[in-house]
Symmetry: C2
């Protein structure tokens, strides 16, 4: 059943994705790993602000620092593999529960007693 995957991480992931700039950063990093500076340009944000957003994404387990480049000053970030698994798992559960509810309602609506009542 795996009822409760790390709820804290799940909350952190959702919270991290609740910011448009961070979502855009994710998209950029999904296209290809990038330096922090590149992200700052694309999202049009000060390096300090961006660094904080990167920390949020890191702590949520969504991105990670990659190996060092030739220039050891730059830091390359990339999307963590399987980063979105907890989120997608939760969304899948929701999807499943939704289908069940629809099915239950359909069965109820088509039940003989109810249809008889409606005709009356």
């Amino acid at each position: 059943m795996e009822q409760h995957p790390p709820a804290l991480q799940l909350s952190a992931a959702f919270a991290a994705l609740s910011d448009a700039s961070r979502r855009e950063m994710i998209r950029m990093l999904l296209h290809k790993p990038r330096r922090a500076g590149e992200l700052a340009e694309c999202v049009d944000m000060s390096p300090q602000a961006l660094s904080r957003h990167l920390r949020v994404l890191r702590r949520a387990g969504l991105v990670a620092e990659q190996g060092i480049e030739r220039d050891a000053r730059v830091r390359i970030y990339s999307v963590q593999p399987n980063a979105f698994e907890p989120v997608q798992q939760w969304m899948a559960q929701v999807e499943d529960l939704w289908r069940r509810q629809l099915h239950a309602f359909k069965a109820f609506a088509e039940s003989p007693r109810r249809t008889a009542k409606l005709k009356a």
Copy 2:
């Protein structure tokens, strides 16, 4: 392409889902529509606190008030149909971009020039 669905609503939805209690409320409501009081018991929370959470979920477009019951004091809440579509759409985009990146990397790793270099 539908590049930018309502970003504000998307942010609101993610933010709403970033709270474990609210996620639990969603699960309860997915099982079946319920009164506010029922939710308060299940989530073990004061009616006031719960009411605020309900407002957050409402403004995010995730839940909605349903028609009035016999007792007009109670308010029945249920999950809004298609509520999670924006979220799932964004997740699908991410999934797609992730596959593309994997594919691109694979093509790069298997390129003749690179394999030749590696053998050397």
